[in-house]
């Protein structure tokens, strides 16, 4: 065996471990936390982290085992047992709390890493983390750490923040888990609708964090979106949470994600989509989106995700027809009535221009008065472009002044340069 070969196997093992970490960390933490209770979530995290540390040492010496996942579960079980026995705190605090478990398993602690228990535990963890008692930014951070297995540095990069801030935020969130006595359990039937709304909202924010990310790390952006989709997909697998709005959110994310590769070059405005190359759109994801969109139409309930999913669906038709833009406009009209936001108002005004013409759109655009929003001035600039290049220029200049990132400023400068 030559040195080069060893190097290759080592890198492979390293990739194997980081892939496994992403895939298994959240499952293992969920299963162990279900046993210990969320008050001791750090112990679960520590046990799983130590397990992976041992794996990377052991596998780099002896090579990866035949069934790495089973190996990890086995070591995690041993470590959990060891913790139980060694730390007095567990005898006093945890064992009484889990005595029902211990009795059920004939005085012997057993971690159940069956597929079913993993899934149940993850769903409970999802509801525990997405708890309105925790600030929503902290919910997203905690979700990334506990549910998606993201490292602290990755979370910091996603939020354009530093490790220290993220650690503090996560620490406070875990404190909340304790002080609010949040349990790993599904909400009662009465609470389910309200609690599911919060879970869906956090998944939606997580997806947006990736899709409109502050970070320029494209792999990370994509990972955030994929994780959001994975969590929503999990919700569709349980009867209690597989509601039309869950499917609407799933459809919405599929349609958006289908354009991921096409929009990566430089997304600097809300209307940039016209310049995309539709050959890069992912047809398979559009198909999936349609599948979930159909499921979302069951029943009479209609959420803002329904409107957004339908809008995203129309955007998957590259052909610029009057029918398309009229439908998009009507959907934005309805979306605004249930969920106003400046960015929806701006997108709606763009749709108004495409459906009803520039004059009507300009009158309405001038009324919006979103004076602190650079997208507002980009939109005004776009609308004035062919009518009044001076007004277009002054609006683009205001947008340039307000834009927050260099890539946004560059994009706006390009627009100014193309004016006569």
């Amino acid at each position: 065996m030559n040195a080069g070969f060893i190097f290759v196997t080592m890198t492979d093992d390293h990739n194997l471990i980081s892939d496994l970490f992403r895939a298994e960390f959240s499952k293992m933490v969920a299963v162990i936390s279900r046993l210990f209770g969320l008050q001791h979530i750090e112990i679960a995290e520590d046990i799983v982290s130590e397990t992976f540390l041992i794996a990377s040492q052991n596998w780099s010496e002896k090579g990866a085992p035949e069934n790495p996942t089973a190996w990890l579960y086995k070591v995690a079980k041993q470590k959990t047992l060891y913790h139980f026995k060694r730390k007095g705190i567990f005898d006093k605090k945890v064992i009484p709390a889990i005595s029902s478990f211990v009795n059920e398993t004939q005085q012997e602690l057993d971690l159940d890493f069956s597929m079913k228990n993993i899934k149940d535990s993850q769903l409970q963890m999802l509801f525990a983390v997405c708890n309105p008692g925790i600030a929503s930014e902290a919910q997203i951070g905690l979700a990334l750490r506990i549910l998606c297995g993201f490292g602290i540095d990755e979370i910091a990069e996603a939020f354009l923040s530093n490790k220290e801030t993220i650690n503090k935020r996560l620490f406070r969130a875990k404190e909340k888990l304790r002080t609010e006595k949040i349990k790993m359990e599904l909400p009662s039937e009465n609470e389910m609708a309200h609690r599911l709304d919060n879970v869906l909202h956090i998944i939606y924010l997580l997806f947006n964090e990736g899709y409109y990310s502050k970070t320029s790390n494209q792999t990370l952006q994509k990972d955030l979106c994929l994780e959001a989709m994975r969590l929503a997909l999990m919700l569709t697998e349980f009867e209690e949470t597989n509601l039309p709005k869950t499917n609407a959110l799933m459809a919405l994310m599929c349609f958006h994600a289908s354009r991921f590769n096409a929009r990566q070059s430089n997304e600097d405005s809300a209307v940039l989509y016209e310049q995309q190359n539709e050959e890069l759109w992912d047809a398979e994801l559009i198909e999936k989106g349609l599948y979930f969109l159909n499921l979302s139409e069951i029943g009479s309930e209609i959420s803002s995700y329904h409107f957004e999913a339908r809008i995203a669906y129309w955007h998957c038709n590259k052909k610029d027809s009057h029918e398309k833009w009229d439908n998009i406009l009507q959907l934005y009209n309805q979306l605004l009535l249930v969920n106003y936001s400046p960015i929806v108002a701006l997108n709606r005004t763009y749709a108004l221009y495409k459906a009803n013409g520039i004059e009507e759109a300009l009158i309405e655009a001038e009324k919006l008065k979103l004076e602190n929003n650079h997208f507002y001035f980009i939109l005004l600039g776009e609308l004035y472009k062919d009518i009044d290049s001076e007004k277009a220029r002054s609006n683009f200049e205001k947008a340039y002044y307000l834009a927050k990132t260099d890539s946004e400023k560059q994009g706006i400068q390009k627009k100014i340069d193309t004016l006569l």
Binding site: Q334, L336, V338, P342, E364, L368
Partner: protein, 114 residues
């Protein structure tokens, strides 16, 4: 911000049945776009409540009729609630209301909460 009800009155509202599907859709679009214009400014307050076209009218002597349309020239169509600083601003929002296209009117009244 105060809240104002915009109350729409339209003559010949009963003729709505005579419209073709196309015409009906076009009118619906006008209304939606107009409401969307207000909503885009973040000034739509209530959106859930609408008055149905069906109704009854009770009159003195216990006379009940099936709808207000027959005798009243301008039928009360429906209403929306908007947010505005004052009556003038609320009135400005009412401009472009499709009820006006058919010689109807919009009445603007501040909502007073106890």
């Amino acid at each position: 911000m105060k809240e104002f009800a915009l109350l729409f009155r339209q003559p010949n509202f009963a003729d709505v049945d005579k419209l073709s599907a196309e015409e009906f859709k076009a009118i619906g679009k006008k209304w939606q776009d107009w409401a969307g214009n207000i909503a885009a400014q973040g000034k739509m307050a209530g959106s859930g409540l609408r008055l149905s076209l069906n109704g009854k009218v009770l009159k003195a002597g216990g006379v009940v009729t099936d709808g207000p349309f027959v005798e009243i020239k301008e039928m009360l169509g429906s209403f929306v609630v908007v947010k505005a600083d004052n009556l003038d601003e609320a009135t400005t929002l009412a401009h472009g209301c499709p009820a006006l296209d058919s010689n109807g009117s919009v009445e603007i009244r501040e909502i007073v909460r106890p």
